[in-house]
Each structure stands twice: as structure tokens, then as C-alpha cells.
């Protein structure tokens, strides 16, 4: 069972109170983009075994979207943070580095130990 802290209402929300919103920090490509960019935006998603960044919505609660950083294999949650950002904050990256030295995710990487 996944339990995430909602940064908007402060609840430790059980997975059943939440709705997953897929991969976080996507760059949207729409009109004016190339076919390849649009294809990658729609279909080329990360599916890592390990550190992952996701969007979640506290649907049976305050209704707000937020971001979560977690490990897909162990379900360890490194932290949750505001939806109003395009990159994970440094505190979240540090928390991941402390637990998973040398982690990488798309263009992001933590420092090695």
C-alpha cells in the first residue's frame, strides 16, 4: 500500500484516496512541434525499475495535483512536492541521493557517493 503525503492538505493519504497521473515533468509538444516530438510526448514514457517521478491527484480529498518521487521496485517514497514546478526541488533530489547514490532519471542525476 502506497501512502503519500499531500503537500496541499497535509494528509498522509492512502493510495485509495489518490489517483495516479502518470509521469511527471513532461514537456508538452502540440501545434507547431515535429511529428517526432509529438510522438515522444505522447508515447515515449519512462518506465524505470527504481527512482521515478510521478504526478498524483488527491482525488478523494482536497482535489489537488502534486508530484511524488518514489522507488517503483520497493515503493519507498522519497518525498512529495508542489505541482507548480517543472523540476524536482533540491531537497527531494538530496533525499533520493541519500538513499540511492548515483541515481538517474531522464536528464536528472544525483551525485555519486
Amino acid at each position: 500500500m502506497l501512502i503519500l503525503h499531500c503537500p496541499y492538505c497535509g494528509v498522509m493519504a492512502d493510495e485509495t484516496e489518490l489517483h495516479g497521473g502518470g509521469e511527471a515533468h513532461l514537456t508538452r509538444h502540440g501545434p507547431g512541434s515535429s511529428d517526432e516530438e509529438f510522438h515522444d510526448y505522447l508515447f515515449a514514457k519512462e518506465n524505470p525499475r527504481g527512482v521515478h517521478f510521478e504526478r498524483w491527484r488527491h482525488v478523494n480529498g482536497c482535489g489537488k495535483w502534486f508530484h511524488a518521487a518514489r522507488d517503483t521496485a520497493t515503493l519507498e517514497v522519497f518525498g512529495t512536492y508542489s505541482a507548480q514546478t517543472t523540476e524536482p526541488p533540491q531537497a527531494i533530489r538530496d533525499a533520493i541521493t541519500a538513499r540511492r547514490p548515483g541515481w538517474t532519471w531522464r536528464h536528472l542525476a544525483g551525485s555519486a557517493k
Binding site: 497535509g10 485509495t16 484516496e17 478523494n60 482535489g63
Partner: protein
């Protein structure tokens, strides 16, 4: 003019606790920046209640104000005063970005009364929320789900709780609460 009626017309049930349709309740959704002084002043002026903090509910007389989200509050008032409350909010917040809507008839309210431990147990059987006395008590407000539908509850005092949900699922909610409160189904988890 048809007369307003609550969803279950006063249905009630006696079990571990008493579960009853709490009748018509005026409800006004107010959206805006809850941190803004203008909203604090307008809520105080219209309802007599202070703006509640995160996951809190404040009450004064017949009115109460519940924290729903960082940008949403729910004003509770007598059913007949909801339109007047909306109009008063619109006057008080003239020129301030906000939304105030009368949602009274979109909702159903249930009253649970009885032993405090049994009451917490009935809610805890249905919602993934911490109902222990240390985590939740009078003055707190929790939006969550009850079994398969969204709902919210608070405790006006020890041994009493109010549950609100969408009116369309009122019968489902009543059935849930009465099943969770069925005689002989007590677990005693919250007994001191």
C-alpha cells in the same frame, strides 16, 4: 413552488450508534485565495465564523465554515439562508477574485450520535483516515472517501459526527453507515 426535501426524508437507524438523515442544510462553496485578508473578513462578516486553518472547521451559532482545500471553503448555514449567504459574499467580495455558489441541494448530510469510540469505529470502517482521538476530534474536518464515494466528516462534539456526501449517493451512504453500525458488529478498537 415545490418544497425542498432532504434526500432520505429523515430516515434513521439505531445500532452501535444512531445514524440519521440530518435534513436540509444550507451549503455554499467559496473559492478564492483563503489566505487573503479580504476573504477572511468576508467570511467573518457573512457567517460570524473565523476562516478555518488547514483541515479545520469553525462554528458560530447556526453557521460553520470548513476548510476544503487551499483555495476552497464550505460555508454551512440554515437551508433557507444559502442564497442570501451567496449574495452577501458577492457584495462583501466585490472586486475580489472569487466564486461563491449555493450547493445545498447537491449534498446530503448525515448525523451520527452515540458512544465516542463506537462512532469513530463506524467511520474508520469506511474511510482510510486516522480516527484515533489524538489525530481527529472536534474542530477537525476531513475530506476523504467512504467506501466507494467521496465524502467529508467532522465532529461537532465528542460522541457526535456529521457526514456530508453528494445527494446522488445518499442512499448508498446511509446503507454504508448503517451496515458499519449494525448491532453486534462492534470491534472495540477505539475503546479506552
Amino acid at each position: 413552488m415545490s418544497e425542498a426535501a432532504s434526500a432520505l426524508d429523515g430516515a434513521s437507524f439505531e445500532g452501535l450508534v444512531r445514524v440519521a438523515d440530518a435534513g436540509l442544510r444550507g451549503m455554499v462553496t467559496l473559492r478564492g485565495d483563503l489566505g487573503a485578508d479580504a476573504l477572511h473578513a468576508a467570511v467573518k462578516q457573512v457567517s460570524g465564523c473565523d476562516m478555518p486553518g488547514q483541515r479545520k472547521i469553525t462554528a458560530a451559532g447556526d453557521s460553520a465554515v470548513a476548510w476544503m482545500a487551499p483555495d476552497e471553503a464550505l460555508l454551512l448555514c440554515p437551508h433557507g439562508q444559502a442564497d442570501a449567504t451567496c449574495a452577501a459574499l458577492a457584495r462583501a467580495l466585490d472586486g475580489v477574485h472569487h466564486l461563491a455558489v449555493n450547493v445545498s441541494d447537491a449534498r446530503a448530510t448525515f448525523a451520527l450520535e452515540g458512544d465516542d469510540g463506537a462512532l469513530r469505529e463506524v467511520l474508520a470502517k469506511l474511510a482510510p483516515a486516522d480516527l484515533s482521538a489524538e489525530a481527529f476530534g472536534p474542530g477537525d474536518f476531513r475530506r476523504t472517501r467512504l467506501a466507494q464515494v467521496p465524502g467529508a466528516f467532522w465532529m461537532p462534539r465528542q460522541g457526535a459526527a456529521r457526514v456530508i456526501c453528494f445527494r446522488s449517493v445518499a442512499q448508498y451512504m446511509f446503507d454504508l453507515l448503517t451496515t458499519a453500525a449494525a448491532k453486534g458488529s462492534g470491534v472495540g478498537y477505539f475503546q479506552a
